[in-house]
Amino acid sequence: EHDVTLGNELLQVIIDRNSGLLKAMVLENETYNIRQSFYWYEGQPGFGREKASGAYAFNPISNRALDLSGNTTFRIVKGDIVEELQQTFTPWLSQVIRIYKGVKHLEFEWVVGPIPVGDWRGKEIVSRFESDLESNGTFYTDSNGRETMQRIRNFRPTWSLNVSEPVSGNYYPVTAWIYIKDPLRNLQLTILPDRAEGATSLYDGVLELMVHRRLLYDDVYGVSEPLNERGIDGKGLVVRGKHYLLLGSIDGAVLEMKDLAQRALMKPVITFFQANFTDNDVE
């Protein structure tokens, strides 16, 4: 009957009881509205004047992405080390939101695929984080782990941009982080991927990262085949990956996101041994 709260000693999240989606975060007794869901863009098939969306080109039919959260089911798992929300959006799209003990970030582990294309519509799936931060058309992306670049929506610093692609014209590559800032509230919302992805901020307070695509037509830019990897069983690829979300003061965010990015990209290596030992051996 009530919204669900998950958390640790440093942060709590509120899960909407009706939608099963992230609704807000609570940090130091302050509540911040943050919604997260998955959306999809339909890829342009390229029959008319428009080129198809494909391996090189991201060319959605509409500038408006469609929300995939309409029939989300969820369950909660609470333990001594981690509390988590397991969400199922569709049979081919699910996610776990985790809060580990003692950490200041949220972990989103998503599983996407095989993307259904039986309706002959190519699909490009994005994870979207919506907050009320006043980001004023500006967001920041890393440049392959090097300098962080300021990006301004519908703007290029060295020439006058004619905005013919409102969505893809604002997409940038991200390998380490993307973030938005609200200077008046001294707040920064950062998302760190665990792999290279395309990402943007199409609206103030909103970040989105593309996690999977499956398209049915070649974009005629050179690859000569549709972006439609089918895998061993011919049904399409499944991808499983993570996003890490950090919310906090602008000054503190820099240190935290750099540390988290290093740990996300240089994970420990685990090796196992099958062992025979008695209790005495253990002692």
Partner: protein, 181 residues
């Protein structure tokens, strides 16, 4: 060096813009995967050579070291089908890190011991249903064991994981809470 060169070469080939952006044809993507796999396998052999020098007290180790390459689908033959496992966890960063490790297990209750032989806190989580039902997943288990490690800079720690049998699990289906207390 002769073995490391395989992965060096594979990574060098994959600097090509088609590999970075994913604009290669599908059969080329498969070849990139194959080259990387051979390179990684060779490097695992080198790490294995150094791990051979480790002594685990009186414990005998069967079959040498194992990697779980299918952890991305929550599947691992070694941890699921052995009641006693030693995990060696290496930290490639030049600073101490705390890291949560997670792998699938078949049993209901486990004890996790650190390098000092002290039992440490752990948790058993249900694997999400969509992951359990992933096409091609070669595992029958629906549980994952997780615990926190603390690893020295450019160093490793060793953990012993053993299944415990005299245990009755508590699962409250009404509340949805899976408790191990």
């Amino acid at each position: 060096n002769d073995d490391i060169i395989f992965l060096k070469r594979a990574v060098a080939v994959l600097q090509h813009h088609d590999a970075i952006t994913g604009t290669e044809q599908e059969h080329v993507a498969k070849d990139y995967i194959k080259q990387l796999y051979f390179g990684i396998e060779k490097c695992q052999e080198i790490i294995g050579e150094s791990l051979k020098t480790l002594q685990f007290g009186n414990a005998s180790v069967d079959g040498g070291y194992k990697y779980c390459e299918n952890l991305n689908e929550s599947s691992c033959y070694v941890t699921e089908y052995n009641e006693k496992v030693i995990a060696v966890i290496y930290n490639p960063l030049g600073k101490t890190v705390k890291h949560y490790v997670r792998f699938p297990v078949y049993g209901q209750m486990y004890q996790v011991l650190n390098e000092k032989g002290t039992s440490i806190q752990h948790q058993i989580d249900p694997i999400p249903l969509p992951v359990q039902n992933l096409p091609g997943r070669k595992s029958n288990t629906w549980r994952e064991l997780l615990f926190q490690t603390e690893l020295p800079p450019l160093g490793f720690n060793t953990y012993i994981i053993r299944e415990i049998h005299d245990y009755v699990p508590v699962v409250d289906h009404n509340s949805g809470i899976f408790s191990q207390t």
